[in-house]
Amino acid sequence: TPATPAESGSELPGVGVTIYKFDDNFMSFVRGAIQREAEGKLDLTLVDSANDQAKQNEQVDGFIQKGVKVLAINLVDPQAASAIIEKAKVADLPVVFYNKEPDQSAMDSYDKAWYVGTRSAESGEIQGQMILDAWNANPDWDKNGDGVMQYVLLKGEPGHPDAEARTKYAVETVVNGGVQVEELELQTGMWDTAKGKDLMDTWISKHGDAIEMVIANNDAMALGALTSLEAAGYMVEGKFVPIVGVDAIPDALAKIEEGKLVGSVLNDAGNQGKAVIDLANNLANGKDVLEGLDWTLDEAKAVRVPYKAITLDNLDDAKASYGQ
Amino acid sequence: MEKYLLQMEHVDKSFPGVRALSDVTLNVRYGSVHALLGENGAGKSTLMKCLFGIYHMDAGRVIFDGEEVQIKSSLDALRQGISMVHQELNQVKTTRIVDNIWLGRFPRKGLFVDEKQMVERTREIFSDLGIDLDPKLKTEKLTVSQAQMVEIAKAVSYDSKLIVMDEPTSSLSQKEVDQLFVIIRRLQEKNVSVIYISHKLDEIKEIADEVTILRDGEWITTQGIDELSTAEMINLMVGRSLDNRFPEITHTRGDVIMQVEGLTAQDPTSIKDVSFDLYRGEILGVAGLVGAKRTDLLECLFGERTVKSGTITMDGQVIENHSPAEAIKHKFALVTEERRATGIFGDLSIRFNATISNLGSYLQRFLLNDRAITKSTAWVIDAMRVKTPTQRTKIKALSGGNQQKVIIGRWLLTEPDIFLMDEPTRGIDVGAKYEIYQLMMNLAKDGKAVMMVSSELPEIIGVADRILVMSNGRLAGILDGEIATQEEILRLSALYL
């Protein structure tokens, strides 16, 4: 089982960990890493906030009642950090936020709050850079030869910070890189493969060969788009449509290897999980937060785990994070 | 050969708080029509439901056709050769007549239902029984009486050894009753037995061979029909002597309370151009054939049905009832025809059912006064002699007659001036009927007006001061109750056909 059930008599210091949504793909890898790293060191209480901030707040109340030593919080709604911090202050507990970044004022309001994660914008920027590089390297992708990149974009859940940031920065980076773009379509696929496929069906029917680039906020939707394109007779020689995703999930890696996806952006789950537990472990044992660790904090009291662009050239980097 | 087709012995059955049957015995001979008599709530339907596998008896045994049988479900009963016409119509309204007739035993050809055979055999059965209906008609389109005839046809079509008929004639016209009796006689010739439940003693006298009387869930007697007079039957049923079927008239007619002028419903198939006066202190009977739109007339008066033209004048003022709420404000009351569909709140208490129309009078600043509600309910239970364990008993646990009494009580509480009653005594035992007549007369005596729709001509003639006869949506005439005859009423009923 994924979580370690806490024996009530456990000697290990308790840590309350929330996952904003258990069935989020990427978070399941972070979760796995957290559990692996905590093995034998910490007594985790791991809960599913089910994408509901109210529920998460309640779970934190439960943690505090239960007497945990540290909170490790994957916020649902980054704006809600202050409510969590209020609770932590009252109980005098240190908090490690991770993966979803609270705003600066909230972080500044409590000296025992830290953050582990990436910069949301970074994944978009890296994705944008990857598109830019590939576009410049493959002049034939500009099928109509107008010098403008006609793209369709599959957005994640509206309001989700990653969806918003990726959508914004991916395109922005391409534009800043000097490539003219035209948005043919932008709809939300809700992170979902089936929805990604259905949308792509529609767009192929509507725009056909005019689509020169498919940008997806995550790999699941990218794969859906791929399925749709394949069914419509694309992705064979001469009928290639470039698709980029984010997350570098195993299935996407296989498709990159087959040359059917241009690339993806690896969000380093293993190291995020490790950093969370490293910090939590120090805090739970009353040590200084970075004592004996290689991590560094930036001015926002944050440990930044970098994203990495994954293409055919460096697939092994990604595979490594799945233990291959 | 055995003497009895059916022997039910020492049957006990209790519901929470109610002992419905205790040590009841019922023996039915081969090829006989066995009447089951008793007041409302005596346990007749319960006994039959036990026989038909709808209820399980707490104790007792059933011997059928010489063998002891265990009947755990209706399917068991049907397989044994018992079929039943249920008191509360049990039909799937959303499907066609044929689907209802063959439900549970659809004829098959190979894997599939044999539609053709189904329709044809239904036609045969219908023509055999003199029913004139298209088998493919949706059941919801049937009138109550047509639906009842279909139920009877279905029960007969099982070729059972025993057919239970629980108040089969409660909404049949005289003609259909005659038709039913012909059917029963034919069944009898084929050595089929019939258990016949009815509150209409004249019918019992006519059709039954033997009669068993129940009272308060106990067996009272079983005798040949000729050994008992009607009066004796009544006495045994109610446990006291009841000399007259109708109370003595003591009320006298007063001023006009309502004038109806040219009342025409929006729906073109409904009533047209009905005009009459209603007086204080009178009971106005409304007669007519089924389908004559007597119900529609009451609905128009009560604001349940949209009126296209015509006026209603009450005490010299023209009023309009656009909704029942408005009608209630104008001091109307309506006891509807279909108790279960439009009368009771089955899952709610007697207390609730009794007071729902009168809540306005329990308000003390915005809140309801519980004590007043309790008092009113107690009054209804007492005045109407409702047989119930408590005020909080769910009304659906009462027998049909007692439910009806609660509903009448509900309206009495609103102190109406004009009391509209649509078949108020349907399915009600003689004792209770008498009480309801008495009630109506008391209302009249208090200067109220009562309009009563009824399909039982003797009742109308016995109770009404004047009789308004409807025919095909029109007013055919108004007769004086003193001198009206059945023939005269029937003649008027057919006036506009």
Binding site: E58, G62, H160, A163, E164 | A341, F345, I356, S357
Partner: protein, 352 residues
């Protein structure tokens, strides 16, 4: 007459005597309270630390807004309807109230130039908004005769769209509306100091709502009319109940409660997004059914609803407390719902 009278009296007396099945019946009537109790015991048995005032307080506090929502939809269920738009209406209320009650000092306000408003104003406003939305539901159900499931399903989708359109605008785009005015958040997080005990305001608000709703359901004409309409719509109409008005009012009342609860939810969480409230309808409806309401209408009590909500909250809180893994929690939660309702249903299963 005298004989009959006596006979009748005897009957009544006999019937009044409690039967042998008295105790079973009694237990059956209170079976959900029993379920709640057993749940409690089981969790305590697994982890005795569960038995603390702190946990108790947490559960009550967490139930507060849920009780408010359940009371809203509960009325609709009694009237034989249902309301799938609950969650999205809560979201609508949360987003609007949050947007109007952000810290004046906060840079990224939705309305940068909005002066500080009296807290009550936005709350009343969102109550009005959700009341109107719910009245549309009521109208569609009562007047256009659309089944409540489908009418409110449609509204659920519409309300989400509207909330999102309101929410996802420049300058902020789809970012959560946070940094709420402390005068607002205190409503949900503050406590009333009674000296010996400090009671969270939000529990007080919920308690007052419960009492008010109890009075409405049991002591007013409107309350009785809800039961009448749910119990038998046709009979209600004939009995002089204005069915349309009753239905629209019961929806309106629900809307008021959603609005209030939605604002409190924003205050409690400290922020709101267009996703706030998503799925709350299923929790609220299940709590009502577990609490003894029936989709057949005309049945239910306030205490049942409150108990239903508490059962759900004890499950959610308790399972986390004893560290059951989330996926397994789902399995257990589903089983408890089914079992609780199955036991409860036996009381209506006519003994045959």
């Amino acid at each position: 007459m005298n004989l009959l009278r006596k006979l009748q009296r005897k009957q009544v007396e006999e019937i009044n005597r409690p039967g042998k099945r008295g105790i079973v019946q009694f237990l059956m009537d209170y079976v959900i309270y029993l379920v709640l109790f057993i749940l409690f015991i089981v969790i305590v048995a697994i982890n005795p630390a569960f038995l603390s005032w702190g946990n108790f307080g947490n559960i009550l506090q967490q139930s507060s807004t849920r009780i408010i929502f359940a009371l809203g939809v509960g009325g609709i269920i009694v009237a034989k309807g249902t309301d799938l738009s609950l969650g999205r209406q809560v979201g609508l209320a949360a987003v609007i109230s949050a947007s109007l009650l952000q810290n004046v000092g906060y840079t990224y306000r939705m309305y940068p130039n909005l002066p500080q408003l009296p807290v009550i104003l936005p709350i009343l406003l969102v109550m009005l908004v959700t009341m109107l939305v719910s009245m549309v539901n009521g109208f569609v159900v009562a007047k256009l005769k659309v089944d409540a499931f489908i009418a409110t399903l449609g509204m659920m989708i519409i309300a989400y769209g509207l909330t999102s359109i309101y929410f996802d605008r420049p300058p902020l785009g789809a970012s959560p509306i946070g940094s709420l005015d402390p005068r607002f958040t205190i409503l949900a997080t503050g406590r009333l100091n009674l000296g010996f005990i400090r009671i969270p305001y939000i529990i007080i608000i919920a308690a007052v709502t419960v009492v008010l709703l109890w009075i409405i359901w049991n002591k007013t004409r409107f309350g009785k009319n809800i039961f009448a309409v749910g119990g038998n719509l046709e009979a209600a109409r004939v009995s002089g109940v204005n069915v349309t008005r009753t239905l629209i009012t019961v929806f309106a009342l629900a809307g008021l409660l959603y609005g209030m609860g939605g604002a409190l939810e924003a205050a409690r969480v400290g922020s709101a997004t267009n996703n706030t409230g998503n799925g709350y309808e299923l929790d609220a409806i299940s709590a009502c059914i577990v609490g003894g309401l029936s989709f057949n209408g005309g049945i239910g009590s306030i205490s049942g609803i409150v108990t239903g909500v508490l059962i759900f909250q004890v499950i959610a809180y308790g399972l986390n407390f004893i560290s059951v893994t989330p996926y397994l929690q789902n399995v257990i939660k589903g089983l408890i719902i089914i079992i609780a309702v199955a036991i409860d249903s036996q009381k209506y299963a006519t003994k045959k």
